[in-house]
């Protein structure tokens, strides 16, 4: 496990900013501690510094996953975001934390949320299709954030505000209005269905 190099850091942050814009700082400086990125076997992990100490004491061969995996570097050194980063790049929709007694170190997404700026909501009928790894068609598009540029990174939600995955907008919002129902509006990048489909390749 080692810290990221300059180039790697730049690649990661560029990718992240496609989805969350300028709020990357919020990822690093959080109220409950400083977080950092580490590289382990070509995968980028996001973990707090406390966890870092624990993870550092584990022998390298035995270490499987320190913290949360955000994505991996491909053989040609491109950074590919994986669905496991979804929790950090999307706020939890319906606040599911309920009435908790007293001050708690509020779980991450409730406090400093790097709100994904561009969101796409998918109709219930095409949820399954997206979860199987297909692109989102115009017919399945429920809502889309205003002034989404073309090829902008988006987070895909279901109509119940449950985050489903990432994508890249194939058309800008204006174009989406005009295009025919079978045209692709969001390219699929990662979806939560991969937890079941590709469980082995997550690590």
């Amino acid at each position: 496990m080692r810290p990221l190099t300059e180039a790697e850091t730049r690649a990661v942050f560029e990718k992240l900013s496609k989805y969350i814009g300028e709020n990357i700082q919020l990822l690093v400086d959080r109220p409950d501690g400083t977080y950092c990125f580490r590289l382990h076997r070509d995968r980028v992990y996001y973990l707090s510094e406390k966890l870092l100490k624990l993870a550092a004491s584990v022998p390298r061969e035995s270490l499987v996953a320190p913290g949360t995996c955000f994505g991996k570097f491909t053989k040609s050194q491109k950074f590919r975001l994986s669905v496991t980063a979804l929790d950090f790049l999307a706020p939890y929709a319906k606040v599911g934390h309920g009435p908790r007694a007293g001050p708690m170190p509020a779980p991450w997404p409730l406090t400093a949320l790097p709100l994904s700026q561009y969101k796409v909501w998918v109709k219930p009928g095409s949820e399954q299709s997206f979860l199987y790894g297909n692109h989102v068609l115009k017919s399945g598009l429920g809502r889309i954030t205003e002034n989404t540029a073309q090829y902008q990174g988006v987070v895909v939600y279901s109509m119940a505000d449950v985050p489903l995955g990432f994508g890249v907008a194939a058309k800008s919002t204006q174009e989406c209005r005009k295009v025919d129902p079978l045209a692709i509006v969001v390219f699929h990048q990662a979806d939560v269905g991969e937890y079941v489909r590709n469980e082995d390749t997550l690590t």
């Binding site: 624990l54 022998p59 929790d87 599911g96 985050p163 079941v196 690590t203």
Partner: protein, 654 residues
């Protein structure tokens, strides 16, 4: 066009063709039996599988029939048989109940077994056999009388008949009934009610060892010809009946036993039958018979045939149980909260969608987990900002529950020795949004060396899996003595490592929870007892108010009395997988050694751990006092004394 439907020639609907056949049999038998004494009032002849209710009926009638046959109708019957000859096997066979059972099984009783025997005879079908039968029968027709007399004296006189016997228990039952009937001297006076009472209980007789051997060779089936290989596989219904009968005898052994037969023989037969009926290996069944009393054993075995209900655990990091339940109900899932003891569990009765693939599942709102797996984590009670070690974490259910209880604070080291299973751990932890976990792939036994000083440790040790037979029926047969001992050995090593990885001086912690999904005493109480002897730990209450207490003694072993704090869960009593949970508190980081001095760190609480000292009370109080004093100073002398005393008194059991 097609066949014209001719309403006039329409076949009579009604009981059906087979029923008609059966009626015919009745009619045939009426030729041989006096009217009114016919035991075949019901159309239950050969083809129909006997039922327990039939048993009573038939045996009742059989009693009647038998009496007649034995006393007044033997010649008639055999004559009839011979007259009918071997050309009409069916009929004769059905008459055979008296004859046959008299000759071959030494019983005149007709019970289901007899029907089956008849069936099989029919299927054997060769005339030679029939002739042989008759030959035997004619020669042995006198035998029943002496046998009855012998039975009168309650001597199990099977040897004479054993050659001809099929090892059917029914025969014995019949004989027993016959014996008991005659013993009572009420032959025809016995009303049906009395007969009913006698029926099951008194009838149960054990086969002799010869018959048992034959059974082994020839399976357990209802054939008359021991010399011929059986035509069918063991008859489960027959075995089941026998099990019931055997159990009833064993429940009230003094009254219902057969003279001259020991309890061991009954138990041996029961064991064999259960092994055959439920498909267990003999070894495992012996072990289970040691753990459970007999009626409970049957419940346990039955419960293992049925899967436990599907349960899920809400991921409170992402949602609330109420919201999740609502969302799932909207998808068409039928569910209920798990029980008062769990605030996050839901039990799924049925579902129109696959529970493991709903969008809520994929979003990490819940985890599929057995109800019993929630218990060790509840016992562990992890607090926020603690360092926790989960030594055998795959597939990650308990780890994620720990994380959710800690609200993603603190640190969890999730370890497992199997790399493939770790993938599911990683997947689950990511899916459920657990951020405070580090996953590692070490052997658990390396643990304090790799990293130590944890606040709490959860050890869900690899075990033989005898508590989850309903999930994996292969365990019934593929576990033997060595497997259990091997597991036990590994568990002992792991528990010592777990204990050593905990920092006894932790302010909030110092607890170890040891759990297995097994019900074997070797893997549970024995391991816990070993840990108590080897390390400075004591057992504390798990905090689970339901569940059966662990054993403090078992067969020839005696465990520490505090083992009452441990908990056992069974599939048949709690409707969850078999489980065992023990919670330790470590009171000193010192590792007790017989030779060396213990380490200086003795941050024991002032409450003296009287559990590790199993000396008689007077000594205890004395030592307690001295120990408490010396705690403030260096504890070595007192501890050493105690250790050596301990070593002397209790030889270390491996």
């Amino acid at each position: 066009m097609g066949r014209k439907l001719d309403p006039t020639k329409k076949e009579k609907r009604g009981p059906g063709r087979k029923a008609r056949k059966q009626r015919g049999a009745e009619v045939e038998l009426a030729h041989f039996l006096p009217p009114g004494k016919c035991g075949l009032d019901r159309p239950a002849a050969a083809p129909r599988r006997p039922r327990p209710s039939d048993r009573r009926v038939s045996s009742r009638r059989a009693g009647d029939r038998q009496e007649e046959a034995l006393q007044s109708r033997q010649e008639e019957v055999s004559g009839a048989v011979q007259r009918a000859g071997w050309l009409t096997p069916a009929k004769t066979k059905k008459t055979q109940p008296k004859g046959n059972h008299v000759e071959l099984s030494s019983d005149g009783e007709v019970e289901e077994g007899s029907w089956e025997m008849e069936e099989e005879e029919e299927e054997d079908g060769s005339s030679e056999e029939m002739v042989d039968d008759y030959g035997a029968s004619s020669s042995e027709e006198e035998e029943p009388l002496p046998i009855e007399k012998a039975a009168l004296k309650q001597k199990p006189d099977r040897e004479g008949l054993s050659e001809d016997d099929s090892e059917e228990e029914e025969e014995e039952e019949e004989e027993a009934e016959e014996a008991s009937n005659q013993k009572m001297g009420q032959k025809e006076e016995e009303g049906p009610d009395l007969q009913l009472n006698l029926d099951i209980d008194e009838q149960f007789k054990l086969p002799t060892s010869e018959e048992i051997e034959k059974e082994d060779i020839l399976f357990i089936c209802g054939i008359h010809k021991p010399l011929f290989p059986p035509a069918e596989p063991p008859d489960l219904h027959v075995i089941h009946q026998r099990i019931q009968g055997n159990l009833e005898v064993l429940q009230d052994f003094g009254v219902k036993r057969e003279e001259g037969r020991s309890r061991q023989e009954y138990l041996a037969l029961l064991r064999r039958d259960m092994a055959a009926y439920y498909s267990y290996s003999d070894f495992l069944l012996t072990k289970l018979m040691d753990i459970f009393p007999l009626p409970e054993l049957v419940n346990f075995l039955e419960a293992n045939e049925v899967p436990r209900p599907v349960t899920i655990r809400t991921n409170t990091l992402k949602t609330r149980r109420r919201d999740l339940a609502q969302a799932l109900i909207n998808r068409g899932v039928n569910l209920d909260p798990l029980g008062k003891w769990s605030k996050t569990g839901l039990v799924i009765y049925d579902s129109t969608v696959p529970i493991g693939a709903t969008p809520e599942y994929l979003a990490g709102h819940y985890m599929l987990q057995g109800a019993s797996s929630l218990l060790p984590v509840m016992a562990l009670a992890p607090q926020e900002n603690e360092r926790i070690l989960d030594m055998c974490c795959a597939p990650g259910g308990k780890t994620s529950y720990i994380a959710q209880l800690m609200k993603n604070t603190g640190m969890i080291l999730a370890n497992d020795s199997s790399a493939e299973r770790l993938r599911s751990v990683v997947g689950n932890l990511h899916r459920l949004g657990v951020t405070n976990a580090v996953v590692s792939n070490c052997d658990g036994r390396q643990f304090p060396k790799v990293l130590g000083g944890f606040d709490r440790v959860l050890l869900d040790a690899p075990c033989s899996g005898t508590g989850v037979i309903s999930k994996d029926p292969a365990v019934k047969t593929n576990k033997d003595e060595r497997d259990i001992l091997r597991c036990a050995h590994l568990q002992k090593e792991l528990i010592l490592s777990a204990i050593d990885s905990v920092n006894a001086a932790s302010e909030t912690g110092g607890y170890i929870v040891y759990c297995t999904c097994s019900i074997m005493v070797e893997e549970n109480e024995w391991v816990v007892d070993y840990a108590l002897k080897k390390r400075n730990v004591r057992l504390v209450a798990t905090g689970l108010d339901f569940g059966k207490e662990g054993f403090t003694r078992f067969k020839d072993r005696r465990f520490h009395p505090s083992l009452k704090c441990t908990r056992r869960f069974y599939p048949h009593t709690h409707n969850m997988d078999g489980f065992f949970i023990a919670k330790f508190k470590k009171f000193s980081n010192a590792i007790p050694q017989a030779q060396k001095e213990p380490a200086l760190e003795a941050a024991a609480p002032s409450a003296v751990p009287d559990t590790i000292i199993t000396e008689p009370p007077p000594k205890k109080t004395k030592l307690e006092g001295s120990k408490a004093e010396e705690k403030q100073k260096l504890p070595k002398p007192a501890l050493k004394k105690k250790r050596s005393l301990q070593a002397q008194r209790r030889p270390l059991k491996a």
